[in-house]
Every structure is written in C-alpha cells, then in structure tokens.
Symmetry: none
Subunit: 208 residues, 4 copies
DNA sequence: CATGAATGAGTCTTCATTCAT
DNA sequence: GATGAATGAAGACTCATTCAT
C-alpha cells in the first residue's frame, strides 16, 4: 500500500482508520468489531492499524474524539448567527434532518449508547465536550429571550433538552430501523412540525 | 441448586435467567457479556443456563421478547382509560419518569440500540410488536381528537413521535450518564414541562 | 479427556502440567515455549491448561516452586545424617552424578539461568528458598568441623560454594551438550576426583 | 545515521551490532529480544541491521562467534607464558574474577545456556572452538606436570574441568543474582581460596 | 436436573522481515 | 546506504458450547 511519510499524511491516515473504525463499531459494536476488518475496510493490514493506534480501546477513544467536535461547531455557529429564538428554532429544525441523514452523528450516537457504558470516562468526556456545549448554546438563547419576555417558558435548561429530544429520537430510530423499510417516516415533515409546535409552546407564533 | 420440576417452575426460571441476561447485556453489551456471569448472577451454573436456552443468541431474543411486552400493556391501558388528549398527556408525562427511573425500559432500549443492529430480525420484530403498538395507541387518540376538532395538529403519526421523543431522550440520557453525577437533571420537572408545552402546542391549554 | 473432579485430582493435574511446562521451557526457553504445546504434551487442550494456571508467567513460577523443593530436602537429609565432613563430602559426591543424570535439576537450572533474568523476583525467591538453604547446610557442617579443628579451611561460606561449583558445572555441561556425543565425560569419575581433591584440600586425607 | 563505505567500516559496524545484540539477548533472551531494540541501542534503524545480518538467527551466531574467541586467546597466552602448574593456577585464579566482573563472558554464557539448546549447531561449534581449546590448554599443563611428577593428580582432563568449575559457578551466580544485593560475595577471596585449595589438592603447596 | 471440566475457534497484539522512498 | 511504514505469521488468552459425572 501507499506509505504515509509526512506528519500530515500520517494524520490523514489516522482519520481514515478512525472513519473505518466508526463504521465497524457502528455495525458490530465495539466488542464484536475486529481490528483486521477495520484495517481491511480501507485497504490496509491489521499491522498498519497498530502503527497508528496502540490498542482497540485507544482507537475507540479517537473515534469519539474525532467525529463529535465538528458537529458541535456547526450548531454553535447556527445558534450564534441566527437572530432570535424563532430563527434559531427554524435553523435547527432545518439542519436536523440533514445531520441525521448525513449519517455520522447517528453512528456516533449508536456507538456511544451501545458501548460507552463500558467506557464511563469516554462517556463523561463526551458529555462535557459535546453535549454540555450544545445544550449551553440553546439554553443561552432561551434565557436571553426569556429575560426579554419574548417567550413564555419554564426552566430554560429543561426546554433546551426538549428541543433536542426529537433529534435523539430520530437518530435512535435511524440506527435501529435503517434496514427496515416499513419503518421510515418523513424526517423533514417531522422536524418542521417540531418547529411549529415549539413556537406555539413558547407562544412565539406571532413573531414567527 | 434447586431443581425446577414443574412446567411453571421452568417458565419462572427462564424469566429469572432472562432478567439476569438483561442486566449483563446492559452492563457489558451482548458480545462482551459472559454466559457464566449471567448464570452466576442468579446462583446457577453455566450448564443450567444451557438447559433453558440453546444459545446466547436465543437468550438475547428471549430477553427482548420478555421485557418489552408488559410495558406496552401499561401504556395501552393508560390511553384507553384516560378521558381525552389532555388526560392522556397528563397520564403519560406522569408515568414516564416512573418508567425511566424504574430501569427496565432504559436497559432494554440500550440493549436494543447497542446490539440489535447485529440482529436485524430482532429489531424489526420489536418495532412491530412494541413500538408500532405504542405509537398506534397515541396516534389513535390524537386522530380522534383532531376529528372532533379538539386539537390543532398536523400529522398525528408524527405528533405521536414528538410526544414520545423526550422519553427516548431521557432513557438514552440515563443509559449514558447513570454514573455521572454532574449529568443528572430533574425528570419530573422535565416531563411536567413537556406536558405543558404539548398542551400549548396542541392549543389544548384552555381545556387542561 | 479424563476429568479432574476432586481437589486431589486437580492438584495432580497441576503437577502434570507443571512437569510438561518444565520440559518445554527447558527445550525452547520461556518465551519460545507455546502454551498449546505444553498442554498437548500431556494430552490436553490449551484451554484446560488455563483452567489450572492463569497465565504463562504463573505457570513459570509454579514450575520453579514445584520442582526445586524436593531436592533441597534430599540434600538436607544427607547432610544431617552423615557423620563428619568427610562423610558429607562422600555422600554429596556420590549423590551428585545421580541427581545430574536424573535430569530435573539441570532442567530447572537451565530454565532459571536462561529466563530468570526476565523474572528477577522468581530468581530471588529461588535463591532464598533453595540455594541459600543448600549453602547453609554445607556451611554449617564446615563451620562445626573448623571449630573442632578437624579441617584446615578459609571462609566456610566460600568453601561451600567451591564444593557446589562442580555440580553447577556439570549441570550446565549437560544442558549445553546433551546431544553432543563427543562432549560426554564420566560423571562418576569426575565427582569421585572432586571428593578426593576436596579432602586433600581440607587436609582431611587421614580421616577419610 | 553515518554511512559505512569501506569494508573495514562495515566490519566495525557488524561488531557494533553484535555487541548490542549480546546485551539484548542477555537481558531478554533470544526469543524476547527485538531487532528494533538492538538497532536502536546503537542508534540505528531496524533496516540498517538487516543490511548487515540476514536474520535474527544469523545475528545470534555472529554474537557467539565474535565474543568467545578473544577470551580463549587470553587464556592460552596466560597458560603458555606462566612457568609451571602453580603459576598457571595463580594466573588463572587472579584473572578469573576480572573476567567475571568485566561482564562479557557471563553474558555469553547466559546466552548460550539459555538459548543454545534451540541452536544445537551453535552449541557444538562453541564447544569445539572455545571450550575444548581452553580445557586442552589446562589439560596440557597438568599432563606435563604429572609426567614430571610435580603433582599428584587423577585424570588430567577431569581435573581441568574441576579447575574451571568455579568460574562457571560464579558466572552463573552473577547472571542470576546481578540485581540481588543480598546475594553478592567476594569474588577475589573466592578465587584466592580456590587457588589455595587446588594447590593443596595437587600437593603443590610446598612448590607454590 | 445441575455442575463445571474440557475443548477449540476466534481475536487482540507483537514483531521479524520486506521494500518504497 | 539508511529509514521506517507496511505486512502477516504466530502466539497468548477468552469464552461459547459440549458432555462426563
């Protein structure tokens, strides 16, 4: 195979292996995934994979690390750029089906849900570095709007979770029923309806 | 250990083993769970477990089969007994935190999310026998109310999913952060707020 | 294969495995010896071996533990029973070729010399439990004789080592040249001459 | 790293690698020693090592070849130069502790004892080229002295082995207990006493 | 019925060796 | 000549499954 000689080429290769690992972990779960299959999936030998990761566990951690971050940034940008709560809700409910369909986030979610219990430290790190940040962004927007009396809302931190819940739901749904044709439903319509209901629930309808 | 002689005693024992298996599958995942540990957890030997289940896979199927059903029945009863949509929402948002805290449902969810992808048939069977029925119950109530013009709602089938989403969310949350003290939030308040927002979103407020 | 069900049968089996391990470690060295070969040598599977020893390293320790002790006892008895220094020297130089030819001691010596550097704790334990005791027995006899002015000798502890040296020499020789026909020499004559020279060196000739 | 262009430079480098290999084989044993570690120990890459030796086995043979010879020459010189048996004994018992402490001989001994059984040809070659010559030198001196009735001795070939035995003993001791502080004893006193006892045993005392 | 000893297929990991750069 | 990335054979160890007791 091609040889990665420069540091950049090696970084790229790490990413390639991590991507392959995500797919295998997603399909088989951490314990059932085979290092050899991960390597072969991108045309390398088992041994090459061990040049980049010391162990299967290290690979798992790298996978979570690698693919969670970029998506947080995307959400933060959306929240920061959008005007008010209504705009944020619109942006998020528009972005959500795209992210869900794109595939990586549901895969990470599946891997974390399925295997993180065996790696509590990974789960906690993920919460701190990804989930808390996402929730903080949304909670911040809601708090500001509440202070300005724009919306009628209870505890912003809980509302933030209620906003996010359908994303988790659809990610989980996708994970479980990807190959089950009868199970599919219209993601766009689902999130659009979520947006409408949220705005009503926040009594934002007029503003929307 | 004790011997199970009557057919009833044998059925009981199957249930006991399945319960132990659920716990082990939940904690370690299907692949990493050991048959011996499952048996020992309830005071039996590995060999005894094989008297009741032909293989680890058969045990997995039995676990899903065994513990999903009772909860469907509970929900169906609630939906059937409650008066209108508002009452159903109240009943469900009151029941939800209890079920989440009780533990079995999040455990099954975790096992299914984590391991069902390796058993597509199990996942599909579960959807048909459990999820579809739950969603059907809720969808039915919403449809009737919509027909009676009690509520303002889009597609009832999607709304049903939006009602259920926070349950999945909190089940997943519990799975991932059970041992992460900083992560806990108030489940009762969460579902209470969910109920309030739903009723507003359905323009049911006055009726509630 | 036969099953070891009683604790005694299991102890026996441990010994059987340890014996097989000694042979393999002797022939190939610790690192090159294969667990499967050790097990097969006595008609068992790899897995069975792991029922009795947690790891290759644990097996190594058991081997040293198991086969060193009995021989210490033999020597101690000889030293305790024999009358004076001359008798002890006679007894030891008569016993030595038998022990060397019997095979187990040279094998353990080889295993320890070859592999103990990788297991310093094992080496130290062996010194304390085996070598020090053997040397102490001999040193004790020499000291008593010196105090009684029976022999003319320097430091008894060093003399004890000089008495033992040809045993180590011939063990090492046997290890290295077992299959080298040209290398053989007459062990009995060798130790007999050692005895004669020792008695002269101690000025015990008259007494002998 | 530096490049070796001339044939002499290449021979030097072979020696450098062989020295590193001796150290690694000594510390870890043949099977557990890593080619990369051997190369790195002298600042080269794995690949460079393979430019000089075709395989690990070839390297092993070179190690034995390389470091045994010089010491034989030293001993032969001593034996040839010294006047009579007494002088040879004095010279050898003075030289012995120096050689033992210097380290290379015990290391080779350890490597041979530990790993030669897996390489019978190497062991035999070593005996022929090193051990037999050393023993022959000593045996020759003893024979001459016996013929001249200078000493009272049995079989000279066996006596030669008895002279050498404490050297093997102390080499083995050093190998096994190098890092075991409680185990050290005074090498100079040990060999001095060996010399005294030998001369008495040969009835050379007067002459010494 | 229940037990746990025995089996052997399966997987992680290491490392001698090769070879593109 | 020198390097170190890539390969794949080999071996320790695990555990689902079987079966003698």
């Amino acid at each position: 195979m091609q040889r990665a000689r420069t540091p950049e080429a090696k970084d790229d290769r790490r990413g390639v292996f991590a991507g392959a690992a995500l797919d295998e972990f997603y399909e088989k779960g951490f314990a059932a995934a085979r290092m050899e299959d991960i390597a072969r999936r991108v045309g390398f030998s088992k041994g090459a994979l061990y040049l980049y990761f010391d162990s299967k566990e290290a690979l798992f951690e790298a996978v979570v690390e690698n693919f969670a971050m970029p998506n947080v940034a995307r959400l933060e940008t959306v929240a920061a750029t959008a005007g008010g709560v209504g705009a944020v809700i619109d942006a998020m409910t528009t972005l959500a089906p795209v992210i869900i369909r794109e595939g990586r986030i549901p895969k990470i979610a599946k891997v974390l849900i399925g295997d993180a219990p065996a790696f509590p430290a990974v789960a906690t790190a993920y919460r701190q570095k990804v989930i808390d940040r996402v929730l903080a962004v949304i909670t911040g927007v809601l708090k500001k709007a509440k202070a300005a009396s724009e919306i009628d809302i209870g505890e912003p931190a809980l509302a933030a979770r209620l906003i996010v819940a359908p994303m988790i739901f659809s990610a989980v749904w996708r994970i479980m029923f990807e190959h089950d044709d009868e199970a599919h439903f219209d993601l766009d319509a689902f999130f659009s309806q979520h947006g409408i209901m949220l705005k009503r629930a926040f009594k934002l309808e007029a503003a929307a």
